[in-house]
Amino acid sequence: MSEPTTGSTEAAAGAERDFLKVSDLYAGYGQARVLQGLDFSVARGEVCAILGPNGAGKTTTLRALCGMVRGRGSVTLNGTELLGRSPEQAARLGVAHVPEGRGTFNDLTVEENLRIGAHLRTGPRRRGRTERAAVVADLERIYDYFPKLRQRSRQAAGSLSGGEQQMLAVGRALMLRPSLLLLDEPSLGLAPLVTRELFEIVRAVNEEERTTVVVVEQNAQLALDIAHRAHVLEAGRLVLSGPAGQIREDGQVAEVYLGVSVLSRKAG
C-alpha cells in the first residue's frame, strides 16, 4: 500500500480489506441492550472468529449481521448496507446464516433441506436450465464435502444425529453460494471428533471457495485453529482483536476474558 498506486486500486484493496465492515453497531432485544458499539472489519476470503463468554453478545452480533435482530450503526457487505434489511433480503445479498441449534427442517429429507438452501437461485426469474444444472452440481459438491449426507439424502433430517444435522445446516447454507457464511456455535452439543471434522470442512470450504466466514464459538481453541483473525467480546464490547495466532499466544489476556479457558489447556 505504500507503493505509489492509483486511487482506484487502493480503493479496491480497501474494499477487499473491508469486505464486511461493522461500525458502531448497537443492537439488543427490547429494553436489553446487548451490543454496545462494535467496530471491526473482515477481509474477503478471511475466517474471522468471535469469541467470548456467555452473554457477551456473540450470537447477537451474527443475528444483527443477517437481519434477525435490528441494530443501529452500520454494517456493510462489499459496500452494501445490511442493517435494516430482513433476513430474506440479507440472504439475497449473499449472507448465509447457520443458526445456533442448527435449524434444520426436520420433516424434510436431507436433499430437500439442501434444495431449500438453493431456494433463491431457482426463483421464477432465474429458472434457467444452466442454473438448475448448477444446483445439481452444487448438491454433488456438498455431498463430496459431507459424504454422510449423501448416504442419508432421502432420510428425514430429524432422524440424523446432532453432528449430521450440523453438517446439513452448513451444507444447506453453502447451497446459497454465499459470499459471507455466518456460523453460530457449530460445536454446540457435538462430540469433539465430529466438531473437529466439521471445522476442517469449514476450513476447506474457505480455502477452496474463498468464502468469507464469521464463526462464533465457545470453543476458542478450535475456532482459533481455523481463523485468520479473532475478536474477543465482553459485555457487548470488543476487548481484544488481532490475528488468530496472536490472540492464541496472548494467553493471559485471553484468559481474563475467556475464563480458565481451553487456551491454557493448549499450553499445558
Binding site: C66, M68, S86, P87, E88, A90, A91, R92, A96, H97, P99, G103, T104, F105, N106, D107, L108, E112, R115, I116, G117, H119, L120, T122, G123, K148, R150, Q151, R152, R154, Q155, A156, G158, S159, L160, S161, G162, G163, E164, R172, A173, L176, G189, L190, A191, P192, L193, V194
Partner: protein, 382 residues
Amino acid sequence: MSTITASLGTDRVRWLRPTLTVLVAAAVAVGAPFYFAPFQVFQLTMVLVYAVALSGLNLLTGFGGQISLGHGAFFAAGAYTAAVMLDRYDTSHLATLPAAAAGCFLLGLGFGVPALRLRGLYLALVTLSFAVFLPPLLKRLEPVTGGSMGLTVNKMQPPAWSGLAEDQWMYFVVLAVTAVALLLARNLLRSRVGRALLAVRDNESAAEVMGVRLSLHKTLAFAWSAMFAGVAGCLYTWVIGFVSPDSFSFVLSITLLAGLVVGGLGSLYGPLLGAAFVMYVPSVSQDVSEAAPGVVFGLLIITVMFVAPTGLAGLPGRVLGAVARRPPRTTAALDRMPEAESAPDAEPESQALSGPSETHTPADPAVVDAEPVGAPPRTEKE
C-alpha cells in the same frame, strides 16, 4: 458411480408400488358408478367433492401449519359463485369452475394478510369470524343470492353419446376434477413453492435466513388453499343443484377441519379418507342413535384420534411400524450402503429398538443422554 446405479435401481422399486396403487384406485373409481345404486353414487360423488376441499385445507394446515376455521366460507363462496352465474347469467356449468377458482384464490390472498401477523389459535379465530359472518351476509344480499330461500340451479345433463345416467355422469365429471385437483396439490408440494412452505412450517426463522419470503409463501398458501375450497364449493353446486346460506354454517368449517385431522394432516391421501369420514360417519351415527347423532360422531372422532393420532392415513404406517419396529420415513433402508448398514445409527433407531426388546437395559437412557457430549466409540465409527 455404484451409488448412482444403486439409487436408480431403488427408484424403480419406489415407483412401482405407487403406480400400481394408482392404477388399482383408478380402476375401482371408474367401476364404482356401474356397481352401486344411484344414491350411493351420489354419496361417492360428495366424498370426492369434500376431498377437494380437504386437500386444499391440507395444503394450509397440514403442510403450511396454519389453522383455518374459515374454509366452509371459501367453500360457500365457490358454491355461490357457481350458483349465481348459473342462475343469473345462465352460463355453462364449465365456465363457473375457473370463475369460482379464481375468485376464491383472490379471496384467500386477502385472507392471507392477517395470517402474516397472527398464528395458531388467533388466526383460527379470525378465520372463524369469516365463517360466522358469511351466512347472514348471504341472506342479506337477497337480490343476488336469493336470501334464505337460496338458489336452485339446473344440474348438468349427461351428453347423449355417453349413455350414462345423470348421477353417473356427475360422478365422472367430479372424479375428473378431483383427480386434477389432487394431482395439482401433490405437484405443488413437490415444487419449489411446496418445499418453501414445508420449510416455513418446520422452522420459520431458518427458512427466512435461507431467503424464503415468509409473507409471500404464507399468503400464497392461503390463496391456493382457498382456491381448492372454492372449486369444491363449485362442484357442490353442480352436484346438489341447490345452495342456501344454511348449508354453509360455521359448522361446515369445523367439520372440514375435523375431517382433515381424522383423515391425516399432511398426508397426500388423508383428505380422501377424511372426506369419506365427513360423508359417511354422520349418516352412520344417525343409524346408531337417532336421538343424538352428534354424540356418536364425536365419540367416533375421539376413537379415531386415540387409535390413530396421525389420522387414518397414518394408521397403516403405524401398524406396520409397530410390527416391524422401525422408525417412520426411513425408506432409505433399501438404498443404504452396506457400510452404512453396519454402522450403528443415531438416536431414532435406538428408540425404535428400545420397545419391548430385552436390549433395553436401565443403563440405556444414560448412554443416550451422554451421547451429545461425545462418547468416543460412536464418533470413531462415524
